[in-house]
């Protein structure tokens, strides 16, 4: 195989000389028109091969251990078809000659996109040759299927979960943007830096005093100088503490203020973004940007920036002092420094690798627990306790081993650093001692020298770690800036028509819509809805029911066509005003952390207690609310009182009733409740929909019994429209769905009975 370095770049011009030479022998005098490098040999080994289209022929050649081998050769005008076949992990490019298909090349998925482009080019070249001969054109068939991982737009590297390419960050620009956050607090930042400098300077004084004590007090036998020297030392220590305190306090204050600004700015911005932004990202990831990533920015602006300055400053000053004391000795003590830097960077990376591995192993240990403890009934029923224990033990052992390894490495690191720094002091005592006896250095200087040595090695270890910390901050900043740089949802409505007085008549006119280019979700939707009408949306998962609702809410605008409300294009309405007219009751009703009253009045915070109770009564929620100890002041949300699905549902209906919207959207409002609760909810819904235009999505068709008309969607188109009775009479898809569900119901009862039986059996087994 060709060494990797020579094979790249394989482009049109970059055909390796050997292949180029081979080509000149095989198809002399033909000009190369297209080249595709592939990474698999015909039989399925990794290896280099090329598909080359010249003026007249299409050849494929592979690089074997004993040289280049022709795999296939077809005259271009004989190419009848070009096929791209996609398999798992690899694909094949085929051409058809005289009705016979031939494999031209195999390739891994990584090259699939490139091969598709080249395949199309080959088809074009063949067509050009065939046209003059009166032969039909050639087209590429087949495609490469699903897309792979997201890649960096600049360098092509695979992007991680966080969507940031660490190699392509413009770090300087990021640093400046982060520094920009300090601007409002610049005087404080400068004061903090100044204090840090003072604290450092004062911290460098004690060794000098020590030298004075040894040389001019003890060695000189001058007792009267001892008192003042001690006072001086005491003053230095007090000053250092005071400066350190103010520095630490100021910088912590600065960091917290800055990061509070960033968090608040980012959160505000998040709320201005369109729904589409959220659908492309995971909730947890976005939350971590606000909490975790902003913390890294805090570290950068508060700690990091001043540390760079202070550490470098400290190192320089100490070096100057040491050089002035004894130049040769200073240079000698610098010898261990490369060792410190190397050890720090080397061992730290390895320790971190072990800790990361330990974290992962801890995760897999927790995964066993998360399986087995909630599933304890199954484990016991199948008598698999021993196996679960063993499964856990294996992981427990793995985690322990890694943790011990990490601890060992870390202990070794500490010991190594201590030893290396000790070398420095050995040098001082050995060489300095020699100088002492030669009269070239006094005792006080030697002691002071040693003290400075320790003060020097510390910052050097720190400096070697600075780049990595900056790296963390830069990627974190990039993720935060991505949010800040995303354009807010723009209300493009020019007329800003207020929606407060709408009647709620709808007209969908030739609506086409796709979330992603090339994957249309809705085709040519035409529908008129009377004000106050209730429309049931029915159809299988993914046929576009939710998309219609998304368009109605203007989370998205249609690609083509328009929705008219009371005769005006929806896009003319003021966005906020329009949405304030929409009430939603979702399958998983969302309750906010707060009291029941607060949740019912969510859309209208100024609602009176009277209205809240009225809404709860209309939603059949009043009675169960009055049965809780804190009644309307009960806490709900994840930490509050436990409400059943049906109770949460009724609170969300009460919220919609109080909100009093002109337009209602139900998404499977009664999906997972018992029959009695469903009746209470249906009753409440009926009260709510009266006089309001309503769109209701449902899988369980029984919930649509109040709908005026039912719209059956099939693959993004309207299949049929009509009342329940009409559709049942025509015997179309809707009637088939209804019949299927009715047939299923007795079976569901049967399954329930089975469960009951097994539960009893289980209880018996426990006895």
């Amino acid at each position: 195989m060709l060494p990797k370095t020579e094979q790249e770049p394989v482009s049109f011009e970059g055909l390796p000389p050997e292949v180029d030479g081979w080509l000149k022998e095989t198809v002399p005098g033909e000009e190369v028109r297209a080249v595709q490098h592939v990474d698999l040999h015909g039989p399925g080994h990794f290896g280099d091969a090329w598909v080359i289209a010249t003026d007249d022929s299409l050849v494929s050649v592979r690089w074997d251990s004993d040289g280049l081998k022709l795999q296939a050769r077809v005259p271009l005008e004989k190419v009848e078809r070009v096929d791209l076949r996609e398999f798992v992990g690899n694909g094949r490019l085929e051409v058809t000659e005289n009705g016979q298909s031939k494999a031209l090349a195999r390739f891994t998925r990584s090259l699939a996109r490139d091969v598709e482009v080249t395949g199309r080019e080959i088809a074009r070249l063949a067509t050009d040759k065939r046209k003059p001969l009166g032969l039909p054109a050639v087209e590429l068939t087949g495609d490469v299927g699903e897309r792979g991982a997201a890649r960096c737009a600049i360098c092509g590297r695979v992007l991680g979960r966080e969507g940031v390419c660490p190699e392509c960050l413009d770090r300087t620009q990021l640093a400046w943007r982060m520094i920009g956050f300090i601007r409002p607090y610049l005087p404080y930042a400068l004061l903090g830096l100044f204090l840090a400098g003072l604290a450092t300077l004062v911290g460098l004084l004690p060794p000098l005093v020590t030298r004075y004590l040894i040389n001019d007090v003890f060695m000189a036998g001058a007792y009267d100088r001892l008192g003042p020297a001690i006072w001086l030392l005491a003053g230095i220590y007090v000053a250092r503490s005071v400066f350190s305190y103010w520095r630490a306090y100021l910088l912590a204050w600065l960091g917290q203020r800055v990061v509070a600004d960033v968090r608040s700015m980012t959160y505000r911005h998040l709320h201005q973004l369109a729904v589409g932004f959220y659908e492309r990202r995971q909730t947890g990831q976005l939350m971590s940007r606000l909490t975790h990533d902003t913390g890294h920015i805090q570290d950068f602006v508060a700690e990091y920036l001043q540390e760079i300055v202070v550490q470098v400053f400290t190192v320089i000053i100490i070096l100057v002092i040491m050089l002035k004391m004894q130049a040769t000795l200073t240079l000698l003590t610098l010898l261990p420094i490369p060792l410190i830097v190397l050890t720090t960077t080397f061992i730290r990376t390895r320790v971190r690798r072990y800790y990361r591995s330990a974290r992962r192993r801890m995760g897999s240990m927790q995964a066993v627990l998360a399986d087995a403890i909630p599933g304890v009934r199954v484990v016991k029923a199948f008598a698999q306790e021993d196996r679960e224990v063993e499964r856990f033990d294996v992981r427990n052992e793995g985690y322990t081993q890694t943790s011990i390894q990490a601890a060992r490495l870390k202990a070794g690191f500490m010991a190594a650093i201590a030893l290396i720094t000790a070398i420095g002091s050995l040098v001082v005592w050995a060489y300095g001692g020699k100088l002492y006896f030669q009269g070239g250095m006094d005792l006080g200087t030697i002691v002071a020298f040693t003290a400075y040595l320790w003060q020097l090695y510390g910052p050097i270890g720190q400096i070697s770690n600075l780049y990595e910390r900056f790296q963390f901050a830069a990627t974190a900043a990039e993720r935060v800036f991505e949010v800040l740089d995303t354009e807010p949802e723009v209300d493009r409505s020019r007329e800003r028509r207020q929606a407060s007085d709408i009647k709620g008549g709808f007209k969908f006119e030739q609506i086409y819509f796709s979330y992603e280019d090339g994957e249309p979700v809705l085709f040519d939707i035409n529908l008129e809805v009377e004000p106050g009408e209730m429309i049931g949306l029915v159809g299988r998962t993914g046929v576009g029911k939710t998309t219609i609702v998304n368009l109605v809410c203007r989370f998205y605008d249609p690609d083509r066509g328009a929705i008219y409300v009371d005769g005006h294009d929806l896009r003319e309405y003021d966005l906020r005003s329009w949405r304030s007219q929409i009430g939603m009751v979702l399958q998983e009703p969302f309750l906010f952390h707060g009291s029941i009253a607060h949740n019912i009045a969510y859309g209208r915070a100024e609602a009176s207690e009277y209205e809240i109770i009225a809404a709860a009564k209309a939603a059949n929620a009043h009675d169960f609310i009055m049965a809780t100890p804190d009644r309307y002041d009960s806490q709900v949300g994840e930490r509050g009182v436990r409400l059943s699905g049906g109770e949460r549902q009724r609170i969300s209906i009460a919220r919609a009733i109080l909100h009093n919207p002109r337009l209602l959207i139900f998404d499977e409002a009664t999906s997972s409740v018992d029959t009695e609760t469903e009746m209470l909810i249906q009753d409440a819904i009926q009260r709510l929909v009266a006089g309001r235009t309503t769109f209701a999505i449902a899988h369980r068709l029984s919930t649509l019994r109040n709908a005026n008309r039912i719209v059956v969607l099939e693959e993004g188109r309207i299949g049929e429209v009509g009342s329940h009775e009409q559709l049942m009479k025509t015997g179309g898809p809707y009637s088939r769905l209804v019949n299927a569900q009715t047939r299923l119901t007795p079976q569901i009862v049967g399954v329930g009975a089975d469960q009951e039986g097994s539960r009893r059996a289980e209880a018996g087994g426990d006895d």
Binding site: A597, Y610, A614, A618, M626
Partner: protein, 178 residues
């Protein structure tokens, strides 16, 4: 909202609320300490139970009344318009229905390490009390902007009506825990 809608809603409210007019009811306490209600139509209901609908935010208004058979008599929105004696009787019942001393001073809050149990000693409008709170996240909650409800290990409730009205030391103790 249009006028006709308002009318509709008022009508609906009258249908769903059995609202008791404070001018139309009297309360009296019999020798056993039980409360009787005398309604405008002359009917007498014994064993009255009072249930405040908003016990924390509106403890003395929006009171639901039930008779001895747990039959709902209706909602009494504003007891201030009752005659003095009736009002005192009713509010005493409301207070009993939802007993929640107001903390006026915090003497001590100590958290035991690792167990998440906090010992509180407080001065309330009903006198001194000491209690334990088991889980901060489940037992302490905010109502509105600054009211804080604390539920102790046994389900008793305490209220800090307004943090800023407490003395400095109490504030600091509560602040760190809450």
């Amino acid at each position: 909202m249009t006028d006709s809608e308002r009318e509709q809603q008022a009508q609906h409210a009258a249908d769903t609320f059995a609202v008791i007019d404070p001018g139309d009811v009297q309360f009296r306490q019999n020798d056993d300490g039980l409360v009787e209600a005398v309604l405008g139509d002359g009917s007498v209901h014994a064993g009255i139970r009072v249930a405040p609908a908003f016990p924390i935010t509106r403890p003395n208004s929006f009171l639901y009344l039930f008779d001895g058979d747990e039959k709902e008599l209706g909602l009494l929105v504003d007891p201030r318009r009752l005659d003095r004696e009736s009002r005192d009787i009713l509010l005493a019942q409301a207070d009993q229905a939802y007993f929640m001393p107001h903390i006026t001073r915090i003497i001590r809050v100590e958290e035991s390490m690792g167990l998440g149990i906090a010992q509180w000693e407080v001065e309330t409008d009903r006198g001194y009390s000491a209690f334990e709170v088991v889980s901060r996240s489940e037992s302490v909650w905010f109502v509105g902007r600054d009211r804080i409800v604390i539920r102790d290990a046994d389900g008793n409730r305490y209220l800090i009506e307004d943090m800023s009205a407490l003395d400095k030391r109490s504030r600091r103790l509560a602040d760190l825990y809450i």
